[in-house]
Symmetry: C2
Subunit: 400 residues, 2 copies
Amino acid sequence: MSERAQVSAFVERAAELDAADGLAALRKRFVLDDVVYLDGNSLGALPVEVPGRVEDVVRRQWGEMRIRSWDESGWWTAPERIGDRIAPLVGAAPGQIVVGDSTSVNVFKALVGAVRLAGEGRDEILVDATTFPTDGYIAASAARMTGCELRPVDPDELSSALGPRTAAVLLNHVDYRTGRLYDLPSLTSAIHAAGALAVWDLCHTAGALPVGLDEHGVDLAVGCTYKYLNGGPGSPAYLYVRADLQDRFDSPLPGWNSHAEPFAMSSSYEPAPGALRGRVGTPDILSMLALEAALEVWDGVSVEDVRAKSLALTDFFLECVAAYVPEGRVESVTPAAHAERGSQVALRCADAGAVMKRLIDNGVVGDFRHPDILRFGFTPLYVGFADAERAARVLAETLG
Amino acid sequence: MSERAQVSAFVERAAELDAADGLAALRKRFVLDDVVYLDGNSLGALPVEVPGRVEDVVRRQWGEMRIRSWDESGWWTAPERIGDRIAPLVGAAPGQIVVGDSTSVNVFKALVGAVRLAGEGRDEILVDATTFPTDGYIAASAARMTGCELRPVDPDELSSALGPRTAAVLLNHVDYRTGRLYDLPSLTSAIHAAGALAVWDLCHTAGALPVGLDEHGVDLAVGCTYKYLNGGPGSPAYLYVRADLQDRFDSPLPGWNSHAEPFAMSSSYEPAPGALRGRVGTPDILSMLALEAALEVWDGVSVEDVRAKSLALTDFFLECVAAYVPEGRVESVTPAAHAERGSQVALRCADAGAVMKRLIDNGVVGDFRHPDILRFGFTPLYVGFADAERAARVLAETLG
């Protein structure tokens, strides 16, 4: 088949797949242009609901109602209310998630909390060696401040690393570089079999695939909201503490927002029941309510459908890349097996930094990850099959 | 003098004082209505610059430029850039303040950092007993996690409490209930004389009076930005680390944003030089850039002038209250001496909660603090003398 015929065939297939896509209508709920935006795993696109909501929060709730909005506009309860909105996306019943602070701060709360829940005699924290760096840095601090030792491990060798000293294990559900998905159910089981607590970082899975926190008995989890949840730049992160652990969850950041009676202004600390115990200080309302508006896109959307589309998109993209890009120019480091693939494709490529610059100049936005990775994130809510085909075609032209 | 003549005289004086007020023109830079807003020490009013800026951040920077804005819209450097904007308001040279996280989280960073800077053999943290509760709760956690003992002390008895075991002292510059201003220079000196580090909470002074962090050799400081700095509900807090301590500042929250080379994604942690070391995770851009716009109000404004007006306002309000309110109905718990007064007046009053509700219904917004305090905050940028007179008059009517 000629190159032109090959392209025509893929373009035609893309059009058919887009026409059959039950999620395709969601694209119009985002502000998008003619760029192929494959960086939603770094910063999700702007949902059309958000600007109007933010304007209302600023002009009316802050500007006109001012201090009254803490009660009357629901500011005070936003962290747990928005947590409950995220809950179904990660397979959690209500009352277990609060939104607030950065992912890093939540990793600290979760890991220190996990070590304290693990109890006496357990003095080791395991963290995946390939993790997004902040998790490792914060885990080192949590270990130092709880008298634990930190051991980086390859998640594939976790079972041999687990032992009677293990207090907690921090794992990323998807590796931010390779896009590899780890087996949360079996790793959580192995951690529990060793008597330790499982802390999962969901930054690269929440909103991209079913997580099943409750179903799989995860102990604590954290995640950001600015990737597949489209909450906006630096929007607040979240903390999940499983319901039956909440009474014993002992936060290292017991700010007044986590007090049982915050406005009693008592000098003695008494933690609130439930997920509220994970709150710290005054929530940043502008960012938080922008996120709340962004989450409305999810009404009536099934995460299973999102996952099915995500796999179809990354399959199709890999197929186009294999067909279009000359042999040997790129190598996928993202697993081919569906069970091991997140919602991104990472291609190893010589001179990846410069290549990504050219791709962006040519209307395909992914990102470069040190030292040699081209990273393409597929957000099923707004990326279509024609986007995937075009991205592969532009990549081939850029490398050609 | 008849009651009516008395009111007329105060109204006339208020008009004269407002006419002579060099800061009066700033009022039009805020969104205000005919309410007397004396709750700017809880949530500052909306600066007129903010809505348009936020709209631009949402629609153009996020919606159109998306991920490029981290560089091209200056998102990445916002924490230190906005820190430098706050610096002159608290008497700090550039390069010592970063904005981000909540006050509670910054108290944790500052106190743990201070204990580590104090070095071996010092294992006690002192905290003012009357402090805003979150400072005490977080100080208890910092003490627990650094092997220190926490001792609440009355700031008036600080010098007898200081000793060779004291590592750090956390003090509020102004007491949130009484409005009492503590003597930062002399208390800092006493702390230093004992070989300990001084950590100041500036929530109730930044933007209301000169602080002089550098001049008085304060070691670390934190503060919120939603009171006298008008950054918006839950806008990010800040951390000051004095320049000569930065190289040894050892943060308990070493997130990737505080790394010397964050995008190297190195598995080993190497702290950034300077104030950046106080950063943690990804900054919440919407709230942060709203704050940046809010701070533009301060261009060309002298904090000394703000302080002079603040004292004149609270003096005048107290004078009106004394004249209007029947003897014995309220008692000021705010010190009469200027050197001991912040920018609020706290009146003890029977049934204060219900009284404040009626005041608010009658167009005078202050707040109630448990158990018996009516709190009136005076933000010199937008509160005038006529407001002070009217507030006292409505208070007298409400109690009458």
